[in-house]
């Protein structure tokens, strides 16, 4: 184990602990000097009720689901468009396909996400009614579909774009090298997929950035979905009685904002920042361990 990785200036591990340390210092100062006790400080976390923590747990869970779904979708879409792009070099008929995929994906991406949510929610019911007239879809399917939409549109596009751009805008030399090297596998399609991911490896920094951005966007898409669709988690956990936390922090935050409860709003914001910061640093750390460490300069090198 190379322990020097932990203590580099840009180490995600170190950055996360610096952030936690900053929060602790702020909290300590707040208790030490009561004058600066204002709602925006980290101690507002302690003012949250159990409902908020339940909502936060649901939002976090949904964010991780959306993130992993977006990785799958982004890689599939990027890989497919990349393969079609590479294949189009030999067959001009195929040229239109990657362009169409990109155009369609970009079109969906630029539509305001709240509108996408409303349209896809309505579309789901419409399509369901065509096939199963008079039958109400189970909430679980609706919820999963909406998570899928959230994963596809915002974070999925970010991963897709990183992969597709690495192929479509590959440097000539990189393309020559990838096409010249031995690619294991017997099926031509699988070989092309591997070549696409090899081209992605040439733009590894851009790819790593897309993986962390995808998590930020997953969180954003989940919170917007919660804000737009009332009690979104009732789809997964149907209840007879109204439970406020089933709206997620998006809906609870909206209510708190209407009541001007700044303590609660900033409390949940600090929690979200901690979740986001911690997870993105974990993703950066994994990127560093899996791939990034091979590109680090030696500790002796001072530029």
């Amino acid at each position: 184990m190379n322990y020097s990785l932990f203590f580099r200036a840009n180490s995600p591990f170190l950055q996360f602990f610096c952030f936690v340390f900053l929060i602790l210092i702020l909290t300590f100062l707040e208790f030490l000097i009561p004058v600066i006790e204002i709602p925006i400080m980290p101690s507002s976390i302690f003012k949250l009720s159990s409902e908020w923590y339940k909502a936060f747990a649901l939002t976090s869970l949904a964010t991780f689901c959306v993130y992993f779904l977006s990785l799958v979708i982004g890689h599939l879409a990027g890989g497919l468009a990349g393969v079609l792009y590479l294949a189009s070099k030999k067959s001009s008929i195929l040229k239109a396909f990657p362009v169409l995929i990109t155009f369609f994906y970009q079109f969906v991406y630029v539509i305001p996400f709240s509108i996408t949510i409303v349209i896809s929610y309505s579309a789901f019911y419409l399509v369901f009614d065509i096939f199963w007239e008079g039958v109400n879809p189970q909430g679980l399917f609706v919820g999963l579909f909406m998570l899928l939409v959230g994963a596809t549109v915002l974070p999925g596009y970010r991963v897709f774009r990183a992969i597709y751009l690495a192929v479509s805008q590959a440097k000539e030399d990189n393309l020559h090298l990838v096409l010249s090297l031995y690619t294991p596998g017997k099926q031509e399609f699988l070989k092309k997929i591997k070549q696409v991911f090899r081209l992605r490896d040439f733009e590894i920094a851009q790819y790593h950035e897309s993986l962390t951005d995808a998590f930020n966007l997953s969180l954003i898409s989940v919170v917007i979905t919660e804000m737009v669709l009332t009690n979104f988690y009732e789809n997964f956990f149907p209840r007879v009685e109204y439970e406020i936390f089933l709206g997620g922090i998006g809906r609870m935050g909206l209510n708190a904002q209407q009541a001007l409860s700044w303590n609660l709003i900033f409390g949940i914001l600090w929690l979200l920042i901690l979740l986001n910061w911690g997870t993105t640093k974990l993703i950066e750390w994994l990127n560093l361990i899996l791939r990034g460490r091979h590109y680090l300069d030696s500790p002796e090198l001072k530029v």
């Binding site: 020559h176 090298l177 010249s180 294991p184 091979h294």
Partner: protein, 234 residues
């Protein structure tokens, strides 16, 4: 001074005046005024051949290869080619196993240039190798690629790839040829397929290797290339 690229029906091979039939072979030559100047030909009879392409720095060797040579080769379905660019960017988190076939003969081939044991070698990342070793791995991987395509004629174009390997370069080329032949026997191939190395290098070339020099093209590289690109669509 007028330069023209010819894909002639018949051209003269350097040294002897044997005519090359383009239906079977592939040749490129510059026409310098009246006399054609051979760049490269597939008119080799032996299984493996080596051609060295030399010119002073800045004359446009790499440009010639990318803009002309590769374009011409792409149009030929009967020729498989691999091209390793000059100083390519290399993703160093790739392992050797990703670039080499898993059979024992290829593993031996990779072991020839400085690694410990076979299993360990496969799991080693490219970041653990020196620059010269990485380039030799790339050459080995390209050879495996060519062999797998099983085309009748194969060209491996190395743009100063071997320059960093120093005095071992020509030994390494010999090892490549040996393994090319050995691999075909290993695969029980009855119709042996040809391999031609087209090497751009600044290294001193030992006697007995055909060297093509582009010294005369230094007058106006742009003009030469423009003419060549125009004519390469022929």
């Amino acid at each position: 001074m007028e330069f023209k690229l010819l894909i002639a029906e018949s051209i003269f091979l350097e040294g002897d005046e044997e005519k090359v039939d383009l239906n079977k072979n592939f040749s490129i030559c510059y026409k310098l005024q009246a006399s054609p100047f051979l760049i490269w030909s597939f008119g080799e009879k032996q299984l493996t051949s080596l051609t060295v392409f030399q010119a002073p720095t800045g004359l446009g060797k790499s440009v010639f290869i990318k803009k002309v040579f590769l374009k011409l080769l792409k149009d030929r379905e009967d020729i498989a080619f691999c091209y390793i660019p000059q100083n390519p960017a290399i993703p160093k988190h790739w392992t050797v196993a990703q670039l080499a076939p898993s059979n024992s003969l290829w593993q031996d081939f990779f072991l020839k240039f400085g690694a410990s044991t076979g299993n360990v070698l496969a799991r080693r990342f490219l970041s653990e190798f020196s620059g010269g070793s990485i380039k030799r791995i790339l050459v080995g991987s390209s050879l495996a690629n060519l062999l797998e395509r099983n085309n009748k004629l194969n060209v491996l174009i190395l743009d100063e790839t071997l320059d960093s390997t120093g005095f071992l370069t020509w030994d390494f080329v010999k090892v490549c040829f040996d393994y090319w032949t050995a691999m075909q026997s290993f695969n029980n191939q009855t119709n042996l397929i040809k391999l031609s190395f087209f090497v751009v290098t600044h290294l001193q070339v030992p006697p007995g290797i055909r060297v093509i020099s582009l010294v005369k093209a230094s007058a106006s590289v742009d003009q030469v290339l423009r003419v060549i690109i125009t004519n390469s669509s022929l």
